[in-house]
Amino acid sequence: MEETRFPQVFTNGALPAAIAEQLAAITTGYTPDPEHELQEPSYYDYPVLKAPVWRWEIIWYFFFGGLAAGCYVIASIAALFGSREDRIVARTGYYLSLLSLLPCPVLLTKDLGRPERFLHMLRIFKVKSPMSMGTWGLVSFSLFSGVTAVIQAARDGILGRWWAPRLLAALPQRLVAIPGSALGVFLGGYTGVLLTATSIPLWSRSKVLGAIFISSAVSTSSALISLVLHLTRAPVQVLHKLERLEWVALLVEMAGLFAFLRGTGRAARPLVGTAPTEHGRTFWSFVAGTGLALPWLLQTLSLLVGRSGNRRSGRGIVISLLVLMGGYFLRRTMIEAGHTSSADARTTLWNAKR
């Protein structure tokens, strides 16, 4: 992962190691005991597992896939349950969903060792393999996301006024949105399930990575939609609803992350520790700190203060950007720390004792 790493100056300056170590010990309930762990047998510390082959393509796929899924689900909730005013959320959400979806197949194909064989993914339908299910989920979700966005475009008059858009506009978008949302939830969460169904200790020990990824999908998506709505000066009431949903999603995400760290314990070291190969500094600074806790606190503040007119743009945009950044770094540190985790022979062997 060297090519995707931050310059050292940046990451080193991010957070003092002592604070990160304290946080790591509190959240994981585990304090490293090098003296004892060095006694544990292994074969000269050669890795037990092979390192994952997944790199920046997968990190960005997880990010965009989460946005595509979350935007669709939020848009559908707004379309199905919202008032007339909320249609702007549905419209923005459906467009953003399709836009975020576009890079996904490209990234996934590029990630393959043999990109020209990407269609081999569609040879079989294997319930046991989250990647097989994910491929089918992505293909079917693309269909729904595409159809919904096209209907939206026809209704918005973007496609002109001839017979085809009129026909499309008459299609029942809300009916399409129901199975589409179910597939959206699948797309937003399966990536975490996929990582859990591996032998990498960090990813597989606790079983809540899917919950973290789906809540991150919702939080980043509501951040993206509200960012666009802030920039286009949408009504305050509509934004307020989105902000409350974002607040809940961030809360669920933080709870999930805490459960993840508790459940993973020692195997979470690559994610939270501060050794040179570990990713704790980035994690605590850009995921847990400025990516989750800070925007959540800011959001709490602005929800408590109420909706006075002038503050909404500035603070809202900052919160949205922070949440989006946190969502990206969550996926990035999780994948990079998985590489570190695969190389730790003693923790892998410890993880296999049960």
């Binding site: 037990v48 082959v53 689900v73 859990t196 993880n351 296999a352």
Partner: protein
């Protein structure tokens, strides 16, 4: 795709099936199942000659990897990889043990496994296995004599794909490239694999790997599928000069392994144990199993790895719970 008239008559049963066959061709009938075949790698017989590594490379036409000086042992292969399907480990524990003075029980791994005729004749006089009790072997400081005569330990193991009964790589594979053959071995179809890399992280033994310098597809031991087809034993088993690598029907080999374990334990090698013979590992055991002379961790083998596919249901459950919570709040907020 042209379909022969004779084939068309066989697929008339279901219109859907015939349509599928028209598109992708007829599905080949599965091959007649044969007896499950596997390896029994008896590490107590391994002398670390690496003939298995070389035979494997030669038969399977795998490129040589540059030998590196690891600095920790005679192992210069390091690990199994996409182009190394047998890997001989050298576990050297020198000056390791001073605490067992009576020599009965405990770790006998490094000492002579088979009692000599002299020993057998004078069993009463000597606490077997402890060189310090033998008048014919002068006491020497640890690390200064040959491993055969002192307590220093030099274990060797020829590591290989375990051909798990429930293979995580096969369960993970989204293309169907990884299959079970008619010999119940796990095999990667090279024309199907698209190098997605999911098997690499699924394998709990770090066996299967993507060939980053070659065709970028996943590779691992095939248990010499081509040789099996022609009734030959795999190249490594054929080349092994001490029969440390044995090949045969899994059930028969497992009986052999248990018998061998009995012999070793009877002779005082209490630390000897089998790995992957019973059905504990990955809920079905391994078709390629081992006799080890110490705990599995010494050989970098996970004691009881979880089966990755078992995580799908709990992970999905928590995902749905999180989604339901957020969905309910979303509906609540937008309904107002």
């Amino acid at each position: 795709m042209a379909i022969e008239p004779t084939q068309r008559t066989t697929t008339q049963g279901s219109s859907l099936r015939s349509m599928v066959s028209l598109l992708v061709g007829n599905k080949e009938p599965p091959l007649a199942p044969q007896a499950a075949m596997g390896f029994f790698t008896d590490t107590s017989l391994c002398i670390g000659c690496k003939a298995c590594e070389i035979a494997c490379k030669q038969w399977n036409q795998l490129p040589a990897s540059d030998p590196v000086w690891t600095g920790s042992s005679y192992d210069n292969t390091g690990q199994l990889s996409a182009t190394t399907w047998r890997h001989v480990q050298f576990i050297e524990h020198i000056g390791r043990r001073d605490m067992e003075d009576n020599g009965v029980g405990g770790d006998k791994a490094g000492t002579s496994l088979a009692p000599t005729i002299y020993e057998q004749a004078h069993e009463q006089e000597y606490s077997r296995g402890d060189p310090r009790g033998r008048p014919d072997i002068p006491f020497t400081a640890p690390g200064t004599t040959l491993p055969f005569f002192n307590s220093d330990r030099w274990l060797m193991q020829s590591d290989v794909c375990k051909h798990c009964a429930n293979a995580p790589c096969q369960e993970a594979c989204p293309t169907g490239a990884i299959i079970r053959t008619e010999f119940d071995t796990v095999y990667v179809q090279q024309d199907i694999c698209n190098g997605c890399g999911y098997c690499v992280v699924a394998c709990p033994f770090g066996v299967i790997a993507r060939d980053e310098y070659g065709d970028r597809a996943a590779h691992k031991c095939t248990l010499c599928y081509d040789r099996l087809k022609d009734g030959f034993e795999p190249a490594c088993a054929k080349a092994c000069p001490t029969d440390s690598i044995q090949f045969g029907e899994v059930e028969q080999l497992k009986a052999q392994a248990r018998e061998r374990l009995g012999i070793l334990q009877e002779r005082g090698v209490k630390e000897a144990r089998l790995y992957g013979v019973d059905d504990n590992i990955l809920e079905g055991g391994l078709n390629s199993f081992f006799l080890l002379l110490d705990e599995p961790e010494i050989y970098n083998l996970p004691q009881n790895p979880q089966r990755p596919s078992n995580n799908v249901i709990p992970a999905s459950f928590w995902t749905i719970v999180a989604a339901a919570v957020m969905g309910l709040f979303g509906i609540l907020f937008f309904r107002e």
